[in-house]
Amino acid sequence: MPSRRRVAITGLGLVTPLGNSVEETWRALLEGRSAIAPISGFDPSGFPVRIAAEVKNFSYAPPPPYRKLLKYAARHVRFALAAATQAIEDCGQSPRPDNATRWGCVAGSGMMANNFDDLVRFQRCFAANGRLATRLLFDPAAGMPDPIAYARNQPNAGVALMAQRFGIRGYTGAVHTACASGGQAIGRGLRLIRRGSADMVLAGGFDSMVNPIGLAAFSLLGALSDCNDTPSRASRPFDRTRNGFVLGEGAGFMVLEEWESARQRGARIYAELAGDGNSLSSYRITDSHPSGDGPIQAMREALRDANAQPDEVGYINAHGTSTIMNDRSECAAVNAVFGLHARRVQVSSTKSLMGHLIAGAGAVEAVICALAIHHSTLPFSANLEHPDPQCDLNFVRDRPVQCRLGLAMSNSFGFGGSNNSLVFRNPEDVRQ
């Protein structure tokens, strides 16, 4: 039987609340600088939650031939284009006419339809009293809706624009499984290369729900921390005083590449993307079972897929949202999967500093796992002073840890019950 194709991670890109590049984000994580602050992008004063982790000082300017793309790119898509540009530059390769069909692009993308400004314009023109006056939609006097806004708000606009910007002509896909989207997209990328659908894949996730609709939607659910007066301490995954998550925004992308061709061209390989595991919790729309059922299967499948044993894993970048239910269910799952090794494997949640990037989270955290392997350094969980007794894992607290990793794991679990785990392997440990 022919051996399975391996997948190398050769390019990384990040736009996060902690910084608009991989270097800035990584440095802020290691320094423990929180990106969570009062919301500045709009007036949040009427909302019960007034804090978030916003991307700051961001601008994206494509080279001149691609300037016209900008009008089709909403804020979160610009994050994606910027992070993807970094990843492609970092890997030193970009699609050429002779290999463009061998490049794919898969991205976890957010669930907002109209972005907020477009929705407000729409309301003013066609729903002055709060009810849509459908008769007006075709009335030129009411001011026709803008077809460019329609394009901007397509669910696959991000993927379509990345394909256009970089000239990708192979398999493309937008995936959405709520907070598991980014992790699942990177897992799809792994599988595209393994099955031969592509040799190089731009894979990642992007989102921004830091807008009045996103804040309203999560506030109404009661899922967010309302520690408005202590924003830098609001996200405290696994701490017994935690009271919800903090919204973040941004994008993470990586270039995945067939291992042998990456080796032959002498590419820098951050890590092997070794395993992808997905499961459905099939329990409730918002939670996994307290036993960890659901996440357990995703972690086991990712390890099996990587041909790895649980005790080889040195670090888990937890989903760790800082909600009571998620953190307990995830810890129960880690205990079930890792057994005695659950006392030893080091765990942290980087959401403690950058909040929850929703459809982007899994992708950003996958990039962080690749960096942890590459730099032999584990980022820590901030604000973890008194761990919940039901969250009894070996947490990286207070400061980063220097530690050579064999395997790292990233977990992402979404509303709707989709779970994703990814396993990353130190490239030095890859034996052909």
Binding site: P44, S45, G46, L69, A100, T101, M111, A113, N114, L119, V120, Q123, A127, G130, R131, T134, R135, D139, P145, P147, Y150, Q154, P155, N156, A157, A160, A163, Q164, F166, G167, R169, G170, Y171, T172, G173, A174, V175, H176, T177, R191, R194, S197, P212, I213, A216, A217, S219, L220, L221, G222, S279, L280, S282, Y283, I285, Q297, G414, F415, G416, S418
Partner: protein, 431 residues
């Protein structure tokens, strides 16, 4: 050698009917299923028709009353997806098989059952729930925030998740395997099948439910498609010289795919087989829907290559053919380039029930299999005079007898994403 991936059940719903067999019959009879837009006041609208599905409320789909209550709060697109998927599962005999297993075997069975969906993402109209608060606020976000509690359902976000069909299929049937939800416009439904097929080939699961569902009959979508010049006020006439655009329809379809050994182990009847898939993008921007045909030709060649099938072996092509001239011509050019003199019967089903966008690939695949079994393919009943650029396709306005058991199903979406799927109908119940 890869293990064959077989199809053991299908179901579909659209304006033409509530089962694959009924839709097939309606198309054979040459019936179009469009009705006047009635969900809102459209008296001033230049677009009078759409392919709506009457009376879908999810009743009768599941025994569990609490589950039924939750799904009746969902969006229409999700109800359509759950309808097709739940009926496909029932048709497959999986619930009886799983019920006969002891507990540990059943857990294993469910963990080895994957679910893939393709859908339109979040509808614009979901956000209309916020219009009353926005109107009251008149630009003041403090007032907007104050009004939310009284005007927006606190579970708005949960009702709006694009992955709700995944979620509720898991809860309804206990499936816990690999999964994803693809929100890739017109290719999403086909990609759900493609991802299920590859997941089974890679050993990620033993069986998979794949569903595409969409509900593009909403004011903003119709308005924007009209302004982009994509909608017709006449009829959908795919590949016709007088083609003038598409009509939107809503619908869903689902398939149960299994490895051949998993299907054999539970004694399931094999209805079909997925032989190969191909995908390409033309990198031409968000709203582009078909330029040269190079992308579609590449997708077709990839799918035929993976299936190990020569063009001459294909009996039927179900084209994307949505009645928009640029897309139809470039698709015809792609088909001509690959098939040349070996042209099979070419048809498209959208003339009857509309372009169901993210559901289209799944509906077309389910109907293509039905055509192979019935050895009869509906014609394009609205076809009068083929467009000169499409003339070499083997088109017909009336039903055609099929010889052969292989079909190629083509899908297309915004961003000029092209997807091709080769499926086979075993003649004797074995593949």
């Amino acid at each position: 050698m890869n293990e064959p991936i077989v199809i053991t059940a299908t179901e579909a719903i659209c304006a033409s009917g509530t089962s694959v067999a009924q839709i097939h019959r309606e198309l054979l009879a040459g019936h179009t299923a469009f009705t006047p837009l009635s969900q809102w006041d459209s008296s001033a609208w230049p677009v009078p028709l759409a392919g709506g599905v009457p009376n879908i409320d999810g009743a009768g789909l599941f025994d569990d009353r609490r589950l039924l209550k939750s799904i009746q709060r969902l969006r229409r697109t999700d109800l359509l997806g759950l309808y097709a998927a739940a009926r496909a599962v029932a048709n497959s005999g999986i619930p009886a098989c799983s019920a006969a297993l002891d507990e540990s075997a059943r857990i294993q069975f469910n963990e080895r059952t994957a679910v893939y969906t393709g859908c339109g993402g979040v509808g614009y109209y979901y956000q209309y729930d916020f219009l009353p608060a926005l109107a009251a606020a008149d630009g003041d976000l403090r007032r907007f925030a104050d009004k939310l509690g009284a005007t927006v359902n606190p579970t708005w976000l949960l009702q709006s998740l694009p992955n709700n069909v995944l979620c509720y299929l898991g809860i309804a049937f206990g499936f816990k395997g690999a999964n994803t939800c693809i929100t890739n416009h017109g290719t999403g439904g086909a990609q759900a099948i493609v991802e299920a097929y590859y997941a089974l080939r890679a050993g990620e699961a033993d069986r998979a439910l794949a569903a595409g569902h969409d509900c593009p009959i909403e004011p903003e979508i119709i308005l924007n498609l009209y302004r982009l010049g994509l909608l017709t006020t006449d009829a959908i006439r795919p590949f016709d010289a007088a083609s003038s655009g598409l009509i939107v329809g809503e619908g869903a379809a689902a398939m149960v795919l299994e490895t051949r050994s998993a299907a054999a182990a539970r004694g399931a009847r094999v209805r079909g087989e997925v032989l190969g898939a191909g995908f390409s993008t033309e990198a031409a921007g968000v709203l582009s829907t078909g330029a040269s045909g190079d992308g579609m030709a590449a997708a077709i060649e990839l799918a035929l290559g993976e299936a190990g099938v020569a063009p001459a072996e294909i009996a039927l092509i179900v084209a994307h053919g949505n009645g928009t001239a640029a897309s139809d011509r470039s698709e015809a050019a792609a088909i001509r380039r690959v098939f040349g003199r070996d042209m099979p019967v070419v048809t498209s089903f959208k003339w009857a029930f509309g372009d169901t966008i993210a559901a289209a690939g799944a509906i077309d695949a389910a109907l293509a299999l039905e055509c192979l079994h019935a050895e009869t393919v509906p014609g394009i009943a609205t076809l009068r005079q083929p467009d000169p650029g499409c003339a070499e396709l083997n088109l017909s306005a009336s039903p055609t007898r099929l010889r052969g058991n292989l079909a190629l199903v083509l899908s297309r979406g915004f961003g000029v994403m092209n997807c091709a799927l080769v499926i086979k109908a075993p003649r004797d119940g074995h593949s």
